[in-house]
Subunit: 463 residues, 2 copies
């Protein structure tokens, strides 16, 4: 009993562990729990700690005791909780933290941690014009389902745009999706099953991990350098763990802003060929580039590289539309999956996007945006430097600065402090599978235009 | 060798069986195939048939022979193909047949087999007006992400509409999704895992099965009667197979057009309580009802009934937006799933839908639609009767007539014949897990307005 009295948290830990196993459905309703003795051995606690934990779980109805037989999980099986499938992280460094804080932010909050541009940087005049044009479109555009592949003129335009990056795809090899995220989600359903190993960069876009957790993939990572993944580690990890899939950004890597070098691209493709690794190249920031990075889909062709993108970052997050460019045989099977899981798409967002993209003003909008981002990058870097915050990588202008905080400052704690003062930050560990970015932080330079941000940041970093 | 010469199809069968096991990923790249002898024994064919099949699979690169060691699956692991996960059905009665034929149909094709209204039955004037209004909306509506729950005024309006059906939900218990199908898809991800058993009606909406196959659920079914599932069979099947989930339509059941009786609803809920069964009530046809059926979510509350819907059928298939009404604790976890798998939604379609729904003309549109459907139902039934085709169930006017073809006429063959003449039909077995509806067919009365349909149908039924 002394152990319990001394440390009630041991009992809580045992309870949490059982609850997690029920949430993750490793234990189902009616399943027998391990015996007191074996649970104690497994968790390295005393029998009496387990007795107390089981008693409390009986009291709250989670488990039931059957006399002479043992303990069993109670009737209601909890639904699958993706928050519980992976390791239970502190909410401040949970991959959902930034998404949900950014998406749920009150209008008066400042969001240097979010991944998109401020509303007034977007081509709203063109979108308004497109909406008025659409109000005069034919009936079927307004009320009918789109075809499963999606609006043909937009796919033709995408095919030409991809050709500009050296990526050769027929319009029929392009499948429109609801968003870039949904494109990756659909591909994960198509390519992996629970327990399959998937490789990501460390750091990488936090939602890759949230998404892969929802697929119950085994996530492994390789350190990311200013020219792409550390290629020797990449080779070793691929050879050792035989991942099925590698997800990455070639141009404007999220969160580092780095670009893949041609040499690294070439080596990635050779390693992938050797080990039958499929690559998803997520290119949603393509239009922000000033000097285009090489694309894996251009170098390696579509045999094992799948290229995806969307318009959320450059045009409008409200016009939900992404795309998958891939091999014809895979596209045909992906159509079945699209119909099964979302029926068909709509032509509405694709029509609006097509109207805006073919509008001559879009190119001018993007030129202006790149100039504006380049200034914002310089200005933000200077402001951050004055607080002792320095970029780890000096990117080709894009939207992200991946920075080290002054020594000893914890990014997660800083983010929590800043949130209390109306500023949403993106602490490094939400991007890091290895949790090795506790001192780092991603800044979206377009969202760093308000002086209040740097005042709050300074205060938030104080011990 | 005589066996091969006599019946080359045996070799093809062995080849197809190996290919299916690779597609379904029961055999992975590098896995060893069963020995010639053991494969022959398993499939009940001669050794020489297997030798020939393996030789041909080596020739086309599917497998490799390693001298002295045996046969191995070649390098590229095929992606998961949902078409192959379930039983390989004849394409004419594959659940995707109707979807893909309807969605890909050329404009001149007639589609009595599809599940939605013709474009000119939809409230296009209201939609055009809404688009013009939206062209004047504030920036953030046009270019920003929506909140994860989705547009608040639409959720408030939905909450009031649901209250009209006796379903009590707070607006914060309603999560907007990309579509009704996506709502069910998200719930399946949340509630089931591969191998879990899910119960559906027989017949049921074909896409339930396509969707459940994509989740690799074990699908079981209960015969559907004019008042709901056959309740004694339902009780027995639930008790024997302990399904985790039951998916159904309470009002205007697809494909039968039937409505749940209050007594059956009550018994379903009691059985569900007894066996911890969760129910998804898909209510997308709600607004077509003339006499509302009881709703399981109204009778049983939200504890184990999840209510979903969309606007694709009554307003516009192009305004992609569905919703999930459920328990608060589940909604909160579903938000994480929505963010992980699709990031956030857009406000665009929800804003348009909200504008149309709150427009006074929507109610008038729906009143007109119900009258028009009621006339179409009478007219179609008469036309079908003249061909010897009779409804199995006489529905409260809705959009579907579930009919028996004359004795001895095969619906799948009839559908194939009609397709060759530009008419997409919906043969019974695409709706039937037990494949017991070979003589039945679903007609969408709103899509049966062209006389050509009945001429083609008559010819297509000729032996």
């Amino acid at each position: 009993m002394s152990e319990i009295v001394q440390d009630g948290t041991l009992v809580s830990q045992v309870m949490a562990s059982i609850r997690d196993r029920i949430s993750a459905r490793n234990l189902l309703a009616g399943d027998k729990l391990p015996s007191i003795r074996s649970c104690a051995r497994q968790m390295g606690v005393s029998n009496s700690t387990v007795v107390e934990a089981y008693d409390r779980l009986v009291a709250d109805g989670t488990i039931q005791s059957r006399r002479g037989s043992g303990f069993y999980v109670s009737g209601h099986t909890a639904p699958l909780s993706i928050a519980r499938i992976g390791p239970k992280l502190d909410r401040a460094v949970d991959p959902f933290w930034v998404s949900r804080q950014s998406l749920d932010a009150r209008p008066d909050m400042l969001k240097p941690g979010c991944g998109w541009l401020p509303a007034d940087w977007m081509p709203e005049t063109s979108i308004r014009r497109a909406l008025r044009t659409l109000a005069r479109a034919s009936d079927d555009v307004l009320v009918e389902y789109g075809t499963p592949l999606g609006l043909a003129p937009l796919r033709q335009l995408l095919s030409r745009r991809l050709a500009g990056h050296g990526i050769v795809t027929d319009p029929d090899q392009i499948l429109l999706t609801e968003s870039g995220t949904q494109a990756i989600d659909m591909l994960c359903r198509f390519l992996i099953e629970p327990g399959d190993t998937v490789l990501v960069d460390d750091p990488c876009y936090f939602n890759f991990c949230a998404l892969l957790r929802a697929h119950r993939a085994n996530i492994i990572s390789v350190p990311f350098t200013p020219t792409g993944p550390d290629i020797d580690t990449f080779a070793r990890v691929v050879s050792d763990h035989k991942p099925r899939l590698y997800i990455t950004n070639s141009g404007i890597h999220n969160p580092t802003g780095a670009s893949l070098s041609p040499q690294t691209a070439h080596r990635i493709l050779n390693i992938a060929d050797q080990h039958d690794l499929i690559i998803i190249e997520d290119d949603i920031f393509a239009d922000f580039e000033t000097t285009p990075a090489p694309r894996l889909a251009a170098l390696g062709g579509m045999d094992r590289v799948i290229h995806i993108g969307s318009f959320s970052k450059t045009l409008s997050a409200s016009l939900r539309c992404g795309y998958i460019a891939s091999r014809s045989d895979w596209i045909d099977q992906l159509i079945d999956l699209k119909v099964a899981t979302g029926f068909s798409g709509s032509n509405l967002a694709p029509e609006l996007i097509h109207l805006v993209l073919k509008d001559g003003t879009y190119r001018k909008h993007m030129d202006g945006l790149r100039t504006r981002l380049s200034h914002a990058m310089t200005g933000t870097a200077k402001q951050l430097a004055s607080l002792g915050i320095r970029p780890v990588i000096t990117p080709d202008p894009g939207i992200f600065l991946w920075c080290a905080l002054p020594d000893g400052i914890d990014a997660a704690q800083t983010a929590r402090n800043a949130l209390a003062n109306g500023v949403v930050l993106a602490p490094g560990n939400v991007f890091s599978i290895s949790q090795s970015a506790g001192n780092l932080m991603r800044f979206n330079v377009a969202q760093c235009q308000h002086p209040k941000i740097f005042k709050v940041l300074e205060r938030a970093m104080r011990p």
